[in-house]
Subunit: 489 residues, 2 copies
């Protein structure tokens, strides 16, 4: 179904630019920011002109410009639509063209960060099959959250408006420490550092534990966000391959200036395997022996299917070498931007103090609401409900793929919110992803998460957490078409 | 007046530590985090024991331990109080003691950040005279804010729970761009990047525009947060002295690898001077000639006393060399943790993309509420009310100092929320600050903001924004005692 879109445009007569340029720039910006998504219809030029109080010629000039650049497409007798494939998303970033002279526009590091291969989190539309990394937003108890927020604001005083504790509010830290027991581990509230999302946490950890030029082990394939944060810290990422038991330890584990290992032991991203107990022990021994750190990213460990929970690495660590990174993006919702670190006692004060350089602390109101949500038991209840919903969604995906007879083979899914699907020989997974995009699906080839080496697998990643069962079934039928088209090409 | 404090303590029998250790650690943590402030009285050991369901001996053991370490003091017949001078605040950070071996606990950078001289933002109590950097929280329209928040949450949908635009929500960017006209400058919404507070903004700017080893000009004396962020980016801060016309440009302005200048032209922190038009032009010419960047921090520019507003540096820049840093911490409240950058067109995409490495975007709800608050006109109204309140508070400070005959001379205050007071010869400003601390005042010597050089002035900084006129008058009388004590010593 096509919706006609309301475009937020503000015009100023005193502006440095013409009205036509302002209209052009407002619409372009709205498209690029995802405020109006692919395939939405614009109001008619007559309606736009009337609404903005400008001539129709002015509006048409702006739209023609946008059409020429590929942002809009016209369908005869039906109107003007936002293009499915936007020019800027494919085009190289403008900043790749340095201005010349002795200083390029961004620093080397800045350019590397801006160009780093990482999933684009600008989401123009609601979750489509098979979006990765988004939980079941359709099932989030927004009213309940709203009620608690109202109560928190009502009881807030001037004190809650000032700068606050750098490691986060104590009631929230107490709630998180308590909650962590479900992961089989323990910590004191003083070891909990609340951060503005786990990406913020990784950035902080790498800046505090690594100097420029230091190295860190990362999983290959692995999470792009960790690589970006290492890049920002000026550190080198040394890729370590992953097999069915998790990350394989290097033959030369004591290689020079390796100061930490970044791992996702509970549910390796993106392969989904769980690190074996033996590998965990080896890793901890390596860290103890070489006095290095382990950063354990437990990003979506709460949801398990027909498997027993395994305690996190942090629980096995008697030496305080593990820094645990937790996120509320998968367990609650990403727009909250809250996560946490569990740091060894020795580091807690340093971590707090150093935050003056980067961000101080997350917003106080968000912290208050989350602390209440957890301590009143809503968090545990929500996780239980989501466990049931994700089991149902995974089942829908497995059944639909089996019944459709598509040339895909799903690997077993033990936990998390996505599956790995191997594509039949002779069909290129990257090509399938392109064909899927043209059919309004979001499908990422596994190869996108290999950095140092070439992907040995021809596989796709299929997120199922954010998608309702009916949409999963429909998505599989569209995916079947995409596979078919990719085979023919 | 002394209040008896409720201490949040949770005990677990299954815990690795004894009950006594848990009580000790909860109270110590609450004190260090500022949850219970100096001079608050603890409940009696009998009451605590009853409440926690443990023996009185257990409670007494924990309290004795805390007393021995200097966290608590006992006053005969009156009870147990939190100590005014806490041991950990003065003691060196634990991480200064590296564990030895080939890797110290934190990286070099991490240690430098954790030990950097910067104002401690952990505020144990409500604003006291003469707190710096906090606005009039007592006058913030919390109910109005709460009403708007309620409306925003009520109309939120699943879409608002997902990851969002990396540069911030477009309605907020539009509102900020419009609002910026009050600073005499203009920008497109596409140039606005919403960040989680201006410190986050500085961290981002320095990482994207500087490589490790690059240099940046900073003002001397100057804002410690900018120095911390430069440290985090691996850059060198080159101090440039400040006179009555603002930062003095170097004799060797083209010194090697200087890639940017960080300045506070509207209201120099901490001296309070405004950069002259001539200096502004020179600075812009330098940036154009050497293809370097200017980072303009306009942190508390909205409030002016008997002076005409001067447009910000950004308004004078035809070349797009100025990155403007704005904050809502002074104009609204610090716990909101929202600020923004205005970046040149060429940099906008790069800045957005690079945020995947550090923090993605600020929380969506906070952005929605702020956008509404601005676009409905509440922001402008609030600023007008605050202008009147700050004029009154400044007047109270000036009058009280004049009438009290203290050996202080206030420099003229043209804008902002703090004053510089020169201390009479023969009395040491640092000593006055210590005596003031003992009298429950917060007074910072100007010398704390000198880094590369020795402070030529014997002066104090007095914040007046957060303090009611009556408390200002009382504060001045206590300050008179502190000055007196410092003279005698």
């Amino acid at each position: 179904m096509t919706k006609t879109t309301v475009v937020p445009i503000k015009l100023e007569s005193s502006h440095r630019t013409t009205l036509q340029e302002q209209i052009y720039s407002s619409i372009r910006c709205s498209i690029l920011e995802g405020l109006i998504g692919a395939d939405h219809r614009l109001p008619s030029t007559r309606a736009l002109a009337a609404e903005l109080g400008v001539s129709r010629t002015t509006v048409m000039g702006a739209l023609e410009h946008l059409q020429a650049e590929g942002y809009l497409v016209t369908r005869r007798g039906s109107g003007t639509y936002i293009a499915k494939q936007l020019p800027d998303r494919a085009a190289p970033l403008p900043l790749q063209h340095a201005r010349g002279g002795r200083h390029p526009l961004l620093s080397e590091r800045g350019r590397a960060l801006a160009e780093a291969r990482a999933p684009d989190r600008r989401r123009p539309v609601s979750p489509r099959a098979f979006r990765l990394g988004t939980p079941a937003l359709d099932l989030f108890p927004l009213r309940l959250w709203s009620r608690i927020a109202r109560q928190c604001i009502r009881s807030a005083t001037a004190k809650h408006l000032d700068y606050s504790a750098l490691s986060g509010l104590m009631p929230l830290r107490v709630a998180i420490a308590e909650q962590l027991r479900s992961r089989g581990t323990k910590c004191e509230p003083s070891q909990v550092t609340v951060v503005a999302g786990s990406q913020r946490g990784l950035d902080l950890v790498f800046h505090l534990l690594l100097d420029p030029g230091d190295s860190a082990w990362v999983e290959e394939p692995g999470y792009p966000g960790a690589r970006c944060a290492l890049l920002a810290a000026g550190a080198h990422a040394l890729p370590m391959s992953v097999d069915a038991d998790g990350m394989r330890l290097s033959e030369e584990p004591d290689a020079d200036n390796v100061r930490l290992a970044y791992v996702t032991p509970s549910h390796q991203f993106p392969l989904g395997v769980t690190m074996s107990l033996e590998r965990r022990r080896e890793l901890l021994q390596w860290a103890r022996r070489s006095r290095t750190w382990i950063v354990e990213d437990d990003y979506d460990c709460e949801f398990r299917y027909q498997t027993q929970p395994r305690p996190c690495l942090h629980a096995l660590d008697p030496d305080g070498r593990v820094i645990y990174v937790g996120s509320f993006s998968k367990n609650l919702f990403p727009a909250l931007r809250l996560g946490f670190l569990i740091v060894p006692h020795d580091l807690a004060t340093g971590f707090a103090t150093a935050r003056r350089a980067s961000d101080m602390h997350p917003p106080v109101l968000e912290q208050l609401v989350l602390a209440e949500f957890i301590s009143r038991g809503h968090y545990q209840r929500h996780l239980r409900r989501m466990q049931a919903a994700y089991s149902e969604r995974l089942d829908a995906l497995q059944t639909a793929i089996q019944r459709s007879g598509v040339p895909l083979k799903l690997r077993p899914v033990h936990s998390g919110l996505h599956a790995v699907a191997d594509v039949e020989d002779g069909i290129d997974a990257e090509r399938v992803a392109q064909e899927a995009e043209a059919r309004d699906l979001e499908v990422v080839p596994l190869s996108h998460y290999y950095y140092g080496t070439r992907a040995p697998e021809n596989a796709l990643l299929l997120g199922f957490g954010a998608i309702r069962p009916a949409a999963i079934r429909l998505g599989v039928s569209h995916l079947a078409q995409a596979l078919d088209a990719a085979r023919r090409n």
